[in-house]
C-alpha cells in the first residue's frame, strides 16, 4: 500500500490539482490566448474609439450616456464581455472534451479526485483565464486613455464576477448536454449575441422599449456593466441597485456551481 497518498489532503485541494492541470493545458495555447486577448480589445477600441464613438458624439454629444465619452461608456461592457468570452472558452470546450471527446474527466475521476472537484477545478481555471483577459483589456483601456487609473481598477473584479456568473451556468449546461452538434451554434447565435446587443452594452438599457428590457435584467452582462460604470465613473446608480446587481451575480455563481458539481458527479458515476 502506498502510504504517501494523503486522501484528506486530496479532499481539500483536489479542485486545485484539477485547476492547475487545466492551466497547464491552457499554457499550450498561450500564443493563441494572448493574440485573442490583446487583438480583440484593440479592434474594439479602434473601431469604437475612432469610428462609431465619433459618430455618436457628433450626433448627440454625451447626453445619452450621462456625460461620459462614448468609448468610456461601453468600456465596462466590453470588459465584462471579454470575461464572459474567456470563461466560456475555458468551460464549454474542456467540459465537452472531458466528458465526450477525449474523456479526460473519466481519467481524473479514476483517482481519489471526485466529480465535484473536477467541476470546481474547471471553473477556477476558467476564472484565471478571465482574470488574464480582463487585466489585459484593462491595461489597454488605460493605455488608450479611456479610463483613468484609480477606482476603475474595480472594473477587473466586477468583470470577472460577471464572467463567473455566466460561466457557472454555462458550465452546468455544457455538462448536461449529451449531443454537442448544435450546442455551439445555439449558444453563440441565440444566447451570446443577443446578450451582447441587448444588455445596455452600446446604449442604456432604459432607452430600449420596456418589453426588451427583461433581456438585460436576466443578463449577467448588464449587471456587471452597470456595476462597472458605477465603479469607473460614478454613474449615479443607487446603493440599492448596486446591492441588487451584486446579489444577482453572486446568486448565479452559487446556483451554477451547485448544479454543475452535482451534474459532474452524476454523469461520471453513470
Amino acid at each position: 500500500m502506498n502510504t504517501g497518498i494523503d486522501v484528506p489532503q486530496i479532499q481539500r485541494y483536489g479542485a486545485l490539482y484539477i485547476a492547475s492541470a487545466r492551466l497547464k493545458s491552457m499554457s499550450k495555447w498561450k500564443a493563441i490566448i494572448a493574440a485573442v486577448d490583446i487583438g480583440n480589445p484593440l479592434f474594439y477600441l479602434i473601431a469604437v474609439g475612432v469610428g462609431i464613438g465619433v459618430l455618436v458624439e457628433k450626433g448627440s454629444g454625451t447626453s445619452g450616456t450621462n456625460g461620459i465619452k462614448y468609448i468610456a461608456f461601453i468600456a465596462p461592457a466590453l470588459l465584462a464581455n471579454s470575461a464572459i468570452a474567456g470563461v466560456m472558452d475555458e468551460t464549454v470546450f474542456p467540459t465537452i472534451e472531458g466528458f465526450k471527446w477525449r474523456k479526460l474527466f473519466f481519467a481524473q475521476n479514476a483517482t481519489p479526485i471526485t466529480g465535484r472537484q473536477i467541476a470546481l477545478g474547471v471553473y477556477l481555471s476558467a476564472l484565471c483565464r478571465a482574470i488574464f483577459s480582463v487585466s489585459v483589456y484593462y491595461l489597454l483601456l488605460i493605455a488608450f486613455n479611456v479610463v483613468e487609473f484609480g477606482s476603475s481598477i474595480l472594473l477587473i473584479p466586477i468583470a470577472v464576477l460577471g464572467g463567473g456568473a455566466f460561466g457557472a451556468i454555462i458550465l452546468y449546461a455544457a455538462a448536461k448536454i449529451e449531443k454537442d452538434d448544435q450546442f455551439f451554434n445555439i449558444l453563440g447565435r441565440l444566447v451570446i449575441m443577443p446578450m451582447f446587443l441587448f444588455s445596455g452594452t452600446f446604449f442604456p438599457l432604459s432607452s430600449m422599449p420596456i418589453y426588451l428590457q427583461p433581456i438585460g435584467w436576466i443578463s449577467p452582462l448588464w449587471h456587471a456593466t452597470e456595476l462597472g460604470r458605477e465603479a469607473a465613473f460614478d454613474y449615479g446608480i443607487s446603493n440599492l441597485m448596486v446591492a441588487v446587481h451584486l446579489t444577482f451575480l453572486s446568486t448565479l455563481v452559487a446556483i451554477g456551481i451547485t448544479l454543475s458539481m452535482r451534474q459532474f458527479e452524476r454523469r461520471l458515476a453513470k
Binding site: 500500500m1 502506498n2 504517501g4 497518498i5 494523503d6 486522501v7 489532503q9 486530496i10 479532499q11 485541494y13 483536489g14 490539482y17 484539477i18 492547475s20 492541470a21 497547464k24 493545458s25 499550450k28 477525449r102 474523456k103 479526460l104 473519466f106 481519467a107 481524473q108 475521476n109 479514476a110 483517482t111 481519489p112 479526485i113 471526485t114 461520471l268 458515476a269 453513470k270
Partner: protein
C-alpha cells in the same frame, strides 16, 4: 487464506429495463491475476467500473480493501490503478507531463513522482518518447503509457479493461510481456478480455461471463478440463456440405459444435478421429487438430463463440 482484496456478492446493475450485471459473486486474493472473460455486452466493463469505485450498483455488496467503493470512493480509488478500455490520456501533453499530472491527482510529492516516472518510462519502454506529445504515439505505446499511468501511485490492485483490444499482434505481445512482469512482481491484476488467448496467458483464475451472469469459474486449465475434451478436430467441408455430413460425424465423437464455416469435434485423440473420418470416405477440404481452449469452454457454456 488471508482476506480477499476484492469481494463481490450478488452484484447487480440495472440500466432502465436492461440488466447489465445480474447477481454475480467472486473474490480476488492478494497477488492473484484474475480475469473476466466474455463477449462484448457480457457486463464485464460495467463490473469493472463498479470495482473502480466510479460507478454505482443497483444491489449486492462489494468490498475492496475492506471498504465499500460506493461509500468510500476516494479512499478506495487511492489504492487502485485503472486502465480503461478507451485511452483517455491528454494528447496535448507529453508522456512525462501525463504521468506527472496524474501522480499529482493522488496528492503525491513531486519528488516521488519524478523518480517514479523514470522507473515507469523504462517499464513501458517509452524512455525515448518522454518529451513527445501523446497524440503522436502509436496505439501500442498509448496503451503502455496508460498502464504506466495506472501504476504511478503504486496501487494495490491494477484494473485493466480490455487491455489489448485494437492492438496489432506485435503490440499485444509486448503488452502481455509487461503485464506478465507485473504479475511476477506480485501486483494483483484484474482484467477483462474477450480474447481467450489473453485470458489463458495472463490469468491464474477467471470467470466466464455472458449476459451479465457468471457461467463458470476456475483456472484456465481447470475450466478446459471440466468443460471440454483434450483435443479438438476442426473440419471444413465447404459451407453447404458441412450441414449434410454433420449428423454422421456427430456419431464419431463425444460432442460436436456446428459453426457456420466449420465443424468442431471434441475428442481425446484428434488424429485418430481424422483417420476414422477418412475411413468413412468423408474427405474434408481442410482439417486441423488442436488443444482445447477457453473458446471451446465458452462455446460449450453458451452455444456461442466469443467474437461474433
Amino acid at each position: 487464506m488471508s482476506k480477499p482484496l476484492i469481494s463481490v456478492r450478488g452484484l447487480t446493475k440495472v440500466f432502465g429495463d436492461f440488466t447489465a450485471v445480474n447477481g454475480i459473486n467472486f473474490d480476488v486474493a492478494k497477488g492473484e491475476s484474475f480475469g473476466l472473460l466474455g463477449p462484448n455486452g457480457a457486463g464485464k466493463s460495467t463490473t469493472m467500473r463498479i470495482l473502480a469505485a466510479t460507478s454505482t450498483r443497483t444491489s449486492g455488496t462489494v468490498e475492496i480493501l475492506d471498504k465499500d467503493p460506493e461509500k468510500f470512493g476516494p479512499l478506495v480509488r487511492a489504492h487502485l490503478g485503472i486502465v480503461p478500455q478507451e485511452d483517455n490520456l491528454d494528447g496535448e501533453l507529453t508522456v512525462t507531463e501525463n504521468l506527472f499530472i496524474y501522480g499529482r491527482y493522488f496528492g503525491l510529492p513531486k519528488k516521488f513522482i519524478k523518480a517514479k516516472i523514470e522507473e515507469l518510462l523504462e517499464f513501458a519502454q517509452l524512455e525515448e518518447k518522454r518529451d513527445v506529445k501523446v497524440q503522436a504515439l502509436s496505439g501500442g505505446m498509448k496503451r503502455r503509457l496508460t498502464i504506466a499511468r495506472g501504476l504511478v501511485s503504486e496501487p494495490d490492485i491494477l484494473l485493466l479493461d480490455e487491455p489489448t483490444t485494437g492492438l496489432d499482434p506485435q503490440a499485444r505481445h509486448i503488452l502481455w510481456d509487461r503485464l506478465f512482469r507485473l504479475k511476477e512482481q506480485g501486483v494483483t491484476l484484474v482484467l477483462t478480455t474477450h480474447f481467450m488467448d489473453e485470458a489463458e496467458q495472463l490469468c491464474d483464475r477467471l470467470v466466464v461471463m455472458d449476459k451479465g451472469a457468471i457461467m463458470a469459474e476456475g483456472s484456465p486449465q481447470g475450466l478446459i478440463k471440466q468443460y471440454s475434451s483434450k483435443e479438438v478436430l476442426e473440419v471444413r467441408f465447404g459451407s453447404d456440405r458441412n450441414k449434410e455430413v454433420a449428423p454422421q460425424l456427430s456419431q464419431m465423437c463425444e460432442r460436436m459444435e456446428t459453426l457456420p464455416d466449420r465443424l468442431l469435434m471434441y475428442t481425446e485423440d484428434g488424429e485418430k478421429l481424422l483417420e476414422q473420418i477418412a475411413a468413412a470416405k468423408l474427405h474434408p477440404t481442410t482439417s486441423l487438430v488442436r488443444r482445447s481452449s477457453l473458446e471451446d469452454v465458452f462455446l460449450r457454456l453458451t452455444g456461442r463463440t466469443l467474437i461474433e
